[in-house]
């Protein structure tokens, strides 16, 4: 009998399986106390092939954040500006291919002038940009100083001589006409804020010395691209300095800047923008619920629920630097007294948000137990197995669900004595061949969440009948929201989908086939980093694809 000193193959497999299960269990049971994060591999990830891009228009949140960071948090930014358009689920993608309407142009003009007037009429705000004392209404030297200082921040690059002269002329000519240097300055600021150089993120590019025949973003273009990706706002002085000195041209310098940016408090704004767009949380401002059926749903609940979800992500990514997939399973969340009452737990504070651990024996856990998701992906009068299932498929697993055929009546039958629950009413989706193809992918998932009504309150019965939340997700059985969340957490498409969505948000494009190898490599980096989001964002920001100005291939 041969003895190799090794266990037989079957036993080795068993041991390996046991170790794997033990490691998974250990991960699942990990407390919130931070453990040593997995060492992060470094170096550029993926190839220099990227989708073609155009100039991205600032989103509304980017516009507001840019004004705040250039002029100060005291400036009230008018809310009536051109709305964002989402493409493929992201405003950042829509910003690449949307135009400005005639009405939008007027709104940008009015907003620019309103902001300009606020700044010149407020001594504190004015003092931040006006460092000289104007000797006359048309003091050109003083106007030029302001233009040089402010223009570089607004355009996110040094101004050309022609731009400086044009803006200086506006200030001096208007100042002379209105007999006030400050009034002229207001028009000058307004002019800058209406410029395409501010409202758009130009991407002309320059020859890439490392990839012949390709273009890469210029230092200032890359700084802008990084800033709106990681901060959802305009570059700071340090980032513009890095661009000016060429630091962003090589991996080491770029990585150092990205690391600095991710360590900044402003990175939370970038994460919030990503999550808000990815999960469509902006729509929580607009949802309507039947006030007779859902007496506890009030207008402030939607924004409040969005804030809860954003805080959970912030906590995972910045406070705990944890496996971001934990968002599906975590009992830790942040609630106001109102949200606490929705979750049937004691409010941890009398006002505002405070952290809590949801009950261990409850059905509510993670993203799928949050009011933001449950209320948003539901109808005004009821829950929706289809909308919730579609969310899971499209947003979390990156499976595209086609829209229903035109002229198809998508209304569900009303509850009857023989069909009181949603599960009974959606049976038609599985028997009608026009519906079954897609609904068999969505509805079983959504039915697993029927223990939550159309605004996210927990329930055990629907119309007096005990709810059956069991189902199967791609071959994995679940018996309710908790095991469904676990199935999604463990799903082989979940982590790659997070990678894809983050890349989509970062680049402002829908990934093309040529970018698939880069996405695969980025996901490998994500996995190697313990599914932590910051290393993934860092890998995307320093990837050759992110630095490459794509061209039609």
């Amino acid at each position: 009998m041969k003895s190799s000193g090794q266990a037989p193959r079957g036993a080795r497999a068993l041991i390996a399986t046991t170790l794997f299960v033990a490691s998974v269990a250990s991960t699942a049971c990990k407390s919130h106390e931070s453990s040593a994060p997995a060492p992060v591999p470094t170096g550029p990830v993926g190839s220099a092939l990227a989708s073609p891009t155009g100039a991205q228009r600032l989103t509304r949140s980017q516009y507001a954040a840019s004004i705040r960071d250039i002029f100060g948090p005291e400036v009230v930014v008018p809310s009536a500006i051109e709305p964002d358009v989402a493409t493929d689920g992201f405003e950042s993608v829509g910003a690449t291919n949307s135009t400005v309407s005639a009405r939008g142009v007027e709104q940008y003009e009015m907003a620019g002038l309103a902001i300009g007037n606020q700044i010149v009429n407020d001594e504190k705000l004015r003092g931040r940009i006006l460092k000289c004392r104007p000797a006359a209404f048309d003091d050109a030297a003083c106007a030029r100083d302001v233009v040089s200082l402010v223009g570089a921040k607004v355009f996110r690059r040094p101004l050309t001589d022609a731009e400086t002269k044009a803006l200086t002329d506006i200030i001096t000519l208007t100042g002379r006409s209105l007999a006030s240097f400050e009034k002229g300055l207001a028009y000058g600021i307004s002019r800058m804020l209406q410029s395409p150089m501010f409202l758009y993120r130009p991407s002309v590019g320059e020859p890439d010395p490392e990839h012949a025949g390709q273009k890469r973003y210029t230092g200032f273009e890359l700084a802008t691209r990084l800033s709106y990706f990681l901060w959802d706002s305009t570059p700071d002085d340090a980032l513009l300095d890095a661009a000016r000195t060429g630091k962003l041209g090589g991996y080491e310098g770029l990585d150092a800047e990205v690391t600095r940016m991710l360590a900044s408090p402003r990175a939370r704004d970038g994460l919030r923008a990503f999550v808000r767009q990815w999960l469509r949380l902006g729509e929580l401002d607009l949802i309507q619920k039947d006030s007779k059926l859902f007496t506890t749903y009030t207008a402030e609940l939607g924004p409040m629920a969005r804030e809860e979800t954003l805080r959970v992500f912030e906590d995972l990514v910045f406070e705990r630097d944890a496996d971001v997939r934990e968002v599906m399973l975590t009992r830790r969340t942040f609630v106001t007294p109102k949200l606490a009452s929705m979750y049937q737990v004691m409010a941890p504070s009398a006002t505002g948000f405070a952290p809590i651990e949801l009950p261990a024996d409850g059905k509510r856990r993670g993203l799928l137990g949050q009011v933001s998701f449950l209320a948003l992906y539901a109808h005004p009068t009821s829950s929706s197995a289809t909308l919730r299932g579609k969310f899971v498929r499209e947003k979390l697993l990156c499976v595209t669900i086609p829209p229903p055929p035109v002229n198809l009546n998508t209304a569900l039958p009303e509850p009857t004595d023989t069909a009181k629950t949603l599960r009974e009413r959606v049976k038609i989706h599985f028997t009608n061949p026009d519906c079954a193809g897609c609904h068999s992918m969505t509805d079983p998932i959504g039915l697993g969440l029927e223990n939550f009504d159309g605004i996210g309150r927990e329930r055990t019965k629907e119309n007096g009948v005990v709810i059956d939340p069991t189902g199967k997700l791609d071959g994995v059985d679940f018996d309710g929201p908790l095991t469904l969340a676990q199935a999604i957490h463990d799903h082989p498409r979940f982590a790659p989908c997070i990678t894809r969505r983050a890349y989509q948000f970062a680049t402002g494009t829908t990934p093309q086939p040529l970018e698939e190898p880069t996405l695969t490599a980025l996901n490998e980096r994500f996995v190697a980093a313990g599914y932590r989001l910051k290393p993934l964002l860092r890998a995307i920001a320093t990837s050759p694809a992110f630095r490459t100005k794509g061209a039609p291939h």
Binding site: T295, S341, A350
Partner: protein, 287 residues
């Protein structure tokens, strides 16, 4: 109404006790359990409608079909479900009071509940099973905090209230039970401080009984009853603006309808039997 106020000690002794050492086999439902709290979201006086019919309790465990001395000649009412022996003379008093002060009493109470001036918490102790549980005690407390109202104009469920510092624990009651989803407890002395507008006083409900049922959402609906001294209520409200001229009439009505607390020395009753209907939402009280 035959009996005067029964000594609480005798009644309590007759009720099942969680701490009874005489029990041969300990009741598993008497194991320590979690507390569950309900906050009263609606409280209203019951009325006699139609004549002779009103919700309420049989406080004296007796049916008075003919005038009797111990109930000062007051006849019992019948419950809406036909239950005889209901003691609820206040149901007959309220319409008379409303003739004097208008039909705003229930509205005033509801307003006080909705804006957080009258937050009565029923804190049930050791609730292991809110359907059948024979060992549940109660603490009636006052909460504080501006409640959140739903679009139906009533308190939302599962809100968190702070216990009011002064007189936090109003009345402890022992020996309550859940039976087929209906909770009952009493008699026990119940004191509820009231502060509405410029009037502040404590209603003392003698031999209080509480009974409520839970629905699928955990909301409670039931009755709260016992004996009330109209004399005390009149004294409590006498300093309210415009109330003073009404005090003699209120006291007279109280004397006229008193059916409990018979004093053989003077041959009079001092208390009016009462029942208030209430709804309550599940809630939390910070202790």
């Amino acid at each position: 109404m035959r009996g005067a106020l029964l000594p609480s000690a005798i009644l309590l002794a007759a009720l099942p006790s969680c701490s009874s050492s005489s029990s041969a086999t300990p009741d598993p439902t008497c194991e320590p359990g979690p507390n569950k709290t309900w906050v009263i979201s609606a409280l209203s006086f019951t009325r006699e409608n139609p004549v002779g019919v009103s919700p309420g309790f049989d406080l004296d465990h007796s049916v008075s079909r003919t005038p009797e001395e111990l109930s000062c000649g007051k006849l019992d009412l019948t419950g809406p479900d036909g239950t005889p022996g209901v003691d609820n003379q206040l149901a007959r008093v309220i319409p008379l009071v409303e003739q004097q002060v208008g039909n705003a009493i229930d509205g005033i109470i509801q307003g006080a509940i909705n804006d957080g001036r009258l937050t009565i918490a029923l804190d049930l102790l050791n609730v292991n099973h809110a359907v059948d549980d024979r060992c549940v005690d109660i603490e009636v407390k006052l909460g504080q905090g501006k409640p959140s109202l739903g679009t139906d104009g009533t308190l939302e469920a599962y809100q968190t209230y702070d216990a009011r510092k002064e007189g936090q624990l109003l009345s402890p009651g022992k020996g309550g039970k859940f039976e087929k989803g209906v909770f009952t407890i009493g008699p026990f002395p119940l004191r509820i401080p009231i502060a509405i507008f410029d009037v502040s006083f404590t209603i003392f409900i003698r031999d209080a009984l509480i009974r409520f049922k839970l629905d699928d959402d955990g909301n409670a609906e039931g009755l709260l009853g016992g004996g009330i001294s109209i004399e005390e209520v009149a004294d409590g409200v006498k300093n309210g603006a415009g109330v003073a001229p009404l005090i003699p009439q209120i006291k007279a009505v109280g004397t006229l309808y008193a059916d409990m607390g018979y004093d053989p020395n003077i041959g009079k009753c001092s208390l009016v039997s009462a029942a208030l209907a209430f709804k309550a939402r599940p809630a939390f009280i910070r202790r």
